[in-house]
Amino acid sequence: MKKENRFLDYIKIILVEVVAFFLFLFFLKVESIWTVIVAILLVALIYFLSKIYKEKFQALLEPFSRYQNFAIGVLFILLVLYPIISPLMIVHSTYWTLILIQTGIYIMIALGLNFQLGSTGMMNLATAAFYGIGAYTAGLLALKLGWPALITIPLAGLAAAFAGLLLVIPIYKTKGHYLALVTLAFGFMLVLAADNIEVIGGPQGLKNIPPVNIFGYSFLNNIGNLHFYTNYYYLVLALLGITILVFARLFNSWVGLTSAYIRDDELAAKGCGINTNFRKLIVFVVGNFFMGVAGALYAHMIGFISPPNFQFAQSLLIVAIVIIGGMDNILGVIVAAILLVVFPEKLRVITEYRIFLYGILLVVTLILRPRGILPFGPRKYDSSILKFARKGGS
């Protein structure tokens, strides 16, 4: 590509992202089932256009892959601006901010699971449980010991991570559907335990968990005329950014490669000298860490948690996000999270049929795209490696 196209490319990127951003805002704004239908039609339209005008479409997307960082930067700026713009357009802006925050939290959990399930092929049907362990740890530390969120959040992550170690033997001895069932059972057990242990509030759960408070700045304060959820929005945005960076780097490293090999052919992996069980254990622990962090965030934000928040249905939602998004693909996970968390909120307009449609949606997506919306692509490791390989070595 020639240099002088660069600015045109930048413009393209900005244009596309800004338009998409505002379309999304409109989508949130309009309280009508039609938005969903229009949105679906729109996606379909773009899909077909991309089929018809292949090369033109490529021309449009090409800049994104070339100036990836720029594209991400622009997107980030837009996301930072969101809380300031949205109140001007949307009546229920606080509500949608809350929903977006929760979407962010779900993405964080889903990325944790994606590392286990998508990258390494370990089914974990107890995500909600680990998420819950994080939430409870943070809640208890904050309530009983009065520790600040800055400490409770990482500790919550560690707690969830080490809870994963309880399953060390199953992980070593079982795989596939069997591991799936073990985790499922584990999840059920934890929720029922939480229900019956009075010390942690039993079914009453934990109330009045103090909000995040960083160096004396309480997240309950409104920022100017922006609502206090905005604080959490930025907090989650930041942590989510870190999470994505971490997992992107892991994907483009020996870790990602090793995991992928374990996922696709465990025997061959052993044959290449990989201690598969130990690797899987670490992956499991790392994944759970992020679920725990997400749980802590939720606990501090809502201030109330109870066992029902962490039931099997939640785990299913997470699994659905990863699998529909496309295994081992961070972008796919994000798209799917928006699809499965934000869309249903829109479908509230037709409350009665919402869950029904949700089920249909799952089935149809997977029939049309059995490998998910965005299956994983080639591992690029690093632009320098790419260039080097393009040169054909030496």
Partner: protein, 265 residues
């Protein structure tokens, strides 16, 4: 003459039973340093089982085996690989969804230095390492089939059979093992492909002078062309050992391959 050679690998009465039937029965073989040892035998004679035993995938029901004087019996496959034994598989075991580069680089696992921490915080170190290994991978591909170099980031699934074999051989070679086990590389290939393959094995030899290579084949032609020494297996037992000439004229071997009548007549 063989006596002067240094033994790097030997077995003591290896026996492998599946339920009632013997897949291997008191196998006692030696592998000498940097020779090319061929192992022949009709299907089901236990060749592959032997590989699976000495690479740790199966735990022998009896007997032991030693590599560089160390007893590796009962070790896990990954331990054995790290000791410097690497192998290919009869039905090629590549991850078809992953790229050629990935499928070769995974072979470097035993010599990889950077883990989680480097992956997240110390990219420089990691990238340097990846680059080093990538160079090596490109070098190897260059030996077998330079056209593959443009396809580094193409999923292996899209490659023809022989190229997959080559990628697999590269995977086995890249960590520079002391002993390479090739499990019927010519399986499911036509005549010309088999021919190319024999050349490839020669290339392997050239590339790694001080490595020892053991190759399973039931295609005599391949064996005859590449191997310096041959062991014949039948019904899980060694029936002949020696140069290709000796073995190929051994009565039992001919029987095993062509049936009694031919052997007698």
């Amino acid at each position: 003459m063989a006596e002067e050679k240094k033994t790097i690998f030997y077995t003591e009465d290896i026996e492998m039973r599946f339920g009632g039937l013997y897949a291997l029965k008191n196998i006692n073989i030696k592998i000498y340093e940097n020779e090319i040892l061929g192992m022949i035998g009709p299907n089901g004679s236990g060749k592959t089982t032997f590989f699976n035993v000495i690479t740790g995938f199966y735990k022998p029901t009896k007997g032991r085996f030693y590599f560089m004087g160390e007893d590796l019996t009962g070790k896990e496959p990954y331990d054995i690989t790290r000791k410097g034994i690497s192998r290919t598989y009869q039905t090629s075991r590549l991850c078809l969804d992953l790229t050629i580069l990935d499928n070769i680089l995974i072979g470097t696992y035993p010599v990889q230095k950077s883990g989680y921490i480097d992956a997240i915080f110390n990219r420089k170190k990691l990238i340097k390492e990846i680059k080093k290994h990538t160079e090596r991978a490109v070098h190897l591909l260059n030996i077998f089939n330079p056209n593959l170099i443009e396809k580094l980031f193409v999923p292996v699934g899209s490659l023809p059979h022989i190229d997959r074999r080559r990628v697999e051989i590269c995977r086995a070679m890249i960590a520079e093992p002391k002993l390479i086990l090739l499990d019927e590389p010519s399986a499911g290939m036509n005549a010309d492909e088999t021919q190319e393959l024999m050349d490839d094995i020669e290339k392997v030899r050239k590339e790694m002078e001080n490595a020892t290579i053991m190759i399973i084949e039931h295609d005599m032609k391949v064996i005859s062309s590449v191997s310096e020494r041959v062991i014949a297996l039948n019904f899980g037992q060694v029936i002949a050992e020696g140069t290709y000439e000796e073995v190929s004229h051994d009565k039992e071997v001919i029987e095993a391959y062509l049936g009694k009548e031919v052997a007698n007549g």
